[in-house]
């Protein structure tokens, strides 16, 4: 009995250590955000703020970073993320239905294309897309960025959704067809409600893609009132590189929504990325 108990203890202790180490940077970010300046720059840092303050949050939320109020950046990020989610979700649902429900001539080619496109380095594509957007007067606008984000979110969304579509029994659609529902009606009354959970999971992934994106937003956007949150953060960091209180408060505001979403769908994300790689 003894060694088994000891083993259990060692395992749990390792587990807690791993948990602490992985959470530490985020914990330190939040903790710094609540510390008054003298504690932030103290030569003996304390893990928790001794005199917690919301001043840095107040400064970030009400102050003007680069001439613009925080909420404008938040709004820009939110608009981009929502447009990306809705459009890429719609495109992905259509394409996933095609892959899961039909066998057609270029089906395999299409899927290989999706796998390849996912791997193309955005860091390379930014050069030609910058010139294209410039030609089309889409630089410095959220519309140009939204188009790019949709293109990047769609391949993964399709690969993830197709499993959910395939899991809907075909008999249900056939029954609807026998009852006289056309393909469009069947889609909306049978398939859509059943695929909804998958659509939610995919949407959150697309949301995070748009919310976190840096290089395109940094390259495309010139006017400060068009900046997204990551660009605002980088800009602020670049101009006040030691104002750690407000920087960490802004970082917290950028990070928390993503973490909440992420924890909600973590399991599905993995199944989408490596779906089928395990054949049990």
């Amino acid at each position: 009995m003894r060694p088994r108990l000891l083993r259990r203890f060692a395992l749990n202790a390792t587990g807690i250590a791993v948990f602490a180490l992985s959470v530490f940077p985020v914990f330190w970010m939040v903790s710094t955000a609540f510390k008054p300046n003298d504690e932030i720059f103290s030569s003996t840092p304390h893990p928790l703020p001794e005199h917690p303050t919301v001043r840095h949050f107040h400064d970030v939320l009400t102050g003007r970073i680069a001439e613009v109020a925080f909420w404008e950046y938040f709004r820009n990020s939110l608009i981009l993320a929502v447009v990306t989610v809705v459009v890429s979700g719609l495109l992905a649902l259509l394409a996933a239905t095609a892959i899961a429900r039909y066998r057609f001539r270029f089906r395999t080619t299409f899927m290989v294309l999706l796998l390849v496109v996912q791997m193309v380095p955005l860091e390379a594509l930014v050069i030609p897309l910058f010139l294209d957007a410039r030609r089309l007067q889409l630089l410095n606008s959220l519309a140009g960025l939204a188009a790019v984000y949709i293109a990047f979110a769609v391949p993964f969304a399709i690969l993830m959704l197709r499993g959910f579509v395939a899991a809907v029994p075909k008999e249900l659609e056939e029954a609807a067809a026998i009852d006289g529902a056309g393909p469009v009606r069947t889609f909306f009354t049978v398939l859509l409600p059943l695929v909804a959970p998958g659509l939610v999971a995919t949407s959150i992934f697309s949301f995070i893609t748009a919310w976190n994106e840096f290089i395109f937003a940094y390259t495309f956007l010139d006017d400060q009132d068009k900046f997204t949150l990551p660009i605002m953060l980088q800009y602020y960091f670049g101009h006040n590189s030691t104002a750690w209180g407000p920087i960490m408060a802004a970082s917290t505001l950028l990070t928390v929504p993503v973490i909440v979403f992420f924890l909600l769908v973590q399991r599905r994300m993995v199944s989408g990325l490596t779906a089928g790689a395990v054949k049990g």
Binding site: P45, L94, F110, T255, S271, K279
Partner: protein, 323 residues
Amino acid sequence: MIDTAPAVGRAPDRSSSGPPRRRRRPRLGPYLLIAPTLAVIAVLTLWPMVQIGLMSFQKVGNRQLRGEPAESVGAENYRQIFDDPFFWQTLRQTVLFAVVAVSLTLLVGTLIGLLLHKLGGRMSNLVASGVMIAWATPPVTAAIVFYWLFGTTGGAVNWTLDALPDWLVGGGWADYNWFGSPLPTYTVLTVCVVWQACPFVAVSVLAGLKSVPSELYEAARVDGSGPWRSFWSITFPLLKPIFMVLLVMSIIWDFKVFTQLFIMAGMANRDAFNLSLYAYSEAFGSLNPKLGLGSAIAMVLTVLLLVVTALYVRVMVRQGETK
């Protein structure tokens, strides 16, 4: 369970759909359904790829941005980068970083995956959520937070290293500048990237482990095999497909890491460049943009990654992922 897509990979069974009368002819349907996606990918991914290829043989600078047609310069851009020792330095840094970061990511991720599998249900969920937080953190925030952690004034890492006994870690850490030269910068970058990437490996390995029947391990134990041997003769062969995918994806992600290095080193710190930062800085970094030259560097990066992608596609096709 992690695998919530049970029917993945199972092809719809057309033959069993009963009556000989063909219901809903699937002639045009699927093509209409994938058409919008194809259009988006063609315009925003495939065409730009072609453009990089074309531009890498052209001179595209301020005059072209004002509307003059691009001049063709043949292979001049490539000659210029291949003759430049700086290009080889960035390439070396890119490859070295990828080798170190990928190995560490896979090693640490696998260990955490094994740990998650061994832990009890509630503890396992707690630790999984913890590592997942690292994964979810936006790259910009992650880079800034690590910059702060490794900073000289009030930085938690230097303080900890200074507090540790000198015989263990050496002395003089209090004012150590991690961002003064490439090697320490890349050390911080590696820690940051591995911290963010290993949760994905851990959770994938965990999903794989759950699919391995426990009888195999019991049989191995009865036959006197220890944990090390069990891993290499049961776990690893069974999870090999998953490791292949994780390896390829990690290589691709770490090869082109941009945001974190951009924040930590910046465009002014040329010594710390990797290929993607180098391409970006040639294309956009100065008042005299050299988009053609930047495209040539981006092309080298893309070709390197396409080789890895080919491997990835081969693995996925073999595993029936495209069925």
